[in-house]
Symmetry: C2
Subunit: 378 residues, 2 copies
């Protein structure tokens, strides 16, 4: 899949990065903007609202680009991410796609509601009851989605009767306003495009039917929301879906490369790494280990990432600070001190490990953006 | 392995943590100090210097405790870690167990040499030549260990002839002073204690023989250094080993629990997590996913960590913010809002994901220590 173009661009980019130490996360700003505008155009073309998940970038500047391109708001998992996006990104419309549980978190949520629209996804009566009491006491009304499990078997109530029952209960809680249902189709990255299309379409149809059943009880339910980049071209096309929440598309990675729609040339984020050891002709060691690349495996390319311009080189093992590369003894570019660019298997956890994105613009290091919502697990 | 004592202690600890949001890393200070003093006593008893690797804690306060208990200095992987330990921890003696490659890093190393003793481990003539030129230009002499591969097949030159040849070459470079050899035995956490003892002892003997061979060329080589907590009770007992560099022992984890010498009661770090969803009688979801627990697997207990007090509960899947627990429907303590404590599979990458250690002292939250060297991959 590697093209001469990508190798050439990476060589030019690396020349512009001589002042940057390694390992570093390098972002091609033009490609980032292109990926953002293409997904916005797709959402518009199928008539659904785009509410991207910021877990991929965790960076206020990228969220601003997404809003600028037409996103109606953003999706966060944790309150700490929402706090950063409101305080540092000026974002005004956030879905917290995660239950808010516990008094400490409810207090923080109330603080956010003074400053932005925050919708919360729930899947239990216990969480709904506690939020209801707090909202009534504060004289507020919280907008809520019911989280529906369409097969990922993580959180969420089952589509159909279980979701309808919880939706009706939530609609009766004072201080809560049920406005939608959401699911995360949650395809593992090991399935084929045909399987994704089939299961994503089925999940979308189940969501639309569940929404209709709730509406049948006289509840106005404007939002039917679906997630995930792998299913992004399938689920939102199901008639009745109103909102999509992809995340990975801003950068892409080895996982998204596997479906053949995109290649290395579409990956806006690479890890710049240095060869720090060449202990054997068929083995080199990079200064990027699991503390940089993360341990997630990707099926599209064997190993722990895709070494741009070196499709025959495989990152076979990671320890925390070492990336062990197996290669042909005659492979050029792996002497001690040489630099390589690596596309990570799964970009979201990779970004969570670092403090900065280094932004390249037309072959030059333009600026560093703080990954301000990194590590905000609370 | 779970004891009534541990469950009782955890319940008491959680009562003292009502003001702490989740997920959080909680450290039992008394247990931390006990683990540190026991390893120091062991090193003293076998007559080797203790130079612990700080990658486990990345926290200046913990490094100070290690030095206070008798460690001769510390071990770091990256320059960024050494910078933090010198600037914020006042540490004066550091082994950088990692090649320093590239002009940017050499400049940073020179900056550190003004403030502390820094030894660097090398495994290539290329890295040695560049450091030699820089040291000569700066009018300095850098102390060097040769990194030896005793079977891990990561970095390092082979023990025996290859190590001797590189050692002699380094000894001839101006500006470098060869003072030792080091290895990381690097046992995967999947081997039995008997296998660890056999391979660790063999690695120790190979190191001693290699050191003797270098000394046979008239070089004074005072240090023969070995690493790793799994092998800590074996390799340092080989006559001729002079230094040990364990890391994990300060906290312990599921990986160290597997060899039967320690149990949950010896684990000083736990992750405090909240049940945020109970979508099915046999399934609960914690607010600690791979962004908190890390993806490393441990063989001692199935799943992604050990839920203290609930040996029958298994964390079967992690996504970034969700830890999916399989349990018996009648297992108490997993209602929405309940809190649990989890011992991570591998504590080092877990600590790298967070910003603070919350320190418990006699059942109370005493203070928060900044994990100041977190994410210092450069």
């Amino acid at each position: 899949m590697m093209t001469a173009t990508a190798a050439h661009l990476v060589a030019a980019q690396q020349a512009g990065l001589a002042t940057l130490d390694t390992p570093s996360l390098v972002v091609d700003e033009d490609l980032l903007r292109r990926n953002i505008s293409e997904m916005a155009a797709f959402a518009k073309s199928v008539g659904v609202a785009l509410r991207p998940h910021i877990k991929t970038h965790k960076t206020p500047q990228v969220a601003r680009l997404q809003i600028g391109a037409g996103a109606v708001g953003i999706t966060c998992a944790k309150l700490g991410e929402a706090e950063v996006m409101i305080d540092q990104g000026g974002i005004e419309d956030i879905l917290l796609a995660y239950p808010v549980v516990g008094e400490l978190k409810i207090r923080r949520l109330l603080g956010l509601l003074d400053r932005a629209r925050v919708i919360v996804a729930l899947d239990s009566r216990e969480a709904a009851a506690a939020l209801s009491r707090a909202m009534v006491a504060a004289g507020r009304v919280l907008e809520v989605y019911v989280e529906v499990n369409t097969g990922q078997n993580r959180a969420g109530v089952r589509d159909g009767n279980e979701a309808v029952a919880l939706g009706l209960d939530i609609a009766r809680f004072k201080g809560l306003r049920l406005i939608g249902i959401m699911t995360h189709e949650g395809h593992s990255h090991t399935v084929s495009p045909a399987e994704i299309e089939a299961t994503a379409t089925a999940a979308g149809q189940a969501m639309v039917e569940t929404a209709e059943a709730i509406r049948g009880h006289g509840i106005d339910l404007p939002v039917v929301s679906v997630g995930s980049t792998p299913a992004a071209v399938f689920t939102p096309t199901v008639p009745g879906i109103t909102e999509m929440r992809p995340g990975t598309y801003v950068f892409n990675d080895v996982s998204t490369m596997q479906w053949g729609r995109i290649g290395p040339d579409d990956c806006a984020l690479t890890i710049l790494a240095t060869v720090i050891s060449r202990p054997a002709p068929d083995r080199a060691v990079l200064d990027a280990g699991s503390k940089t690349l993360s341990l997630e495996r990707g099926p599209a390319h064997p190993g722990h990432g895709y070494v741009v311009g070196h499709p025959r080189a495989t990152i076979v093992r990671l320890s925390e600070e070492h990336g062990v590369v197996e290669l042909k003894p005659d492979e050029p570019g792996f002497a001690v001190g040489d630099r390589v660019s690596v596309i990570p298997n799964h970009v979201c956890p990779t970004v969570n490990l670092q403090d900065h994105l280094y932004i390249m613009h037309e072959g030059h290091l333009a600026e560093a953006w703080s990954i301000a919502a990194r590590g905000k697990v609370q």
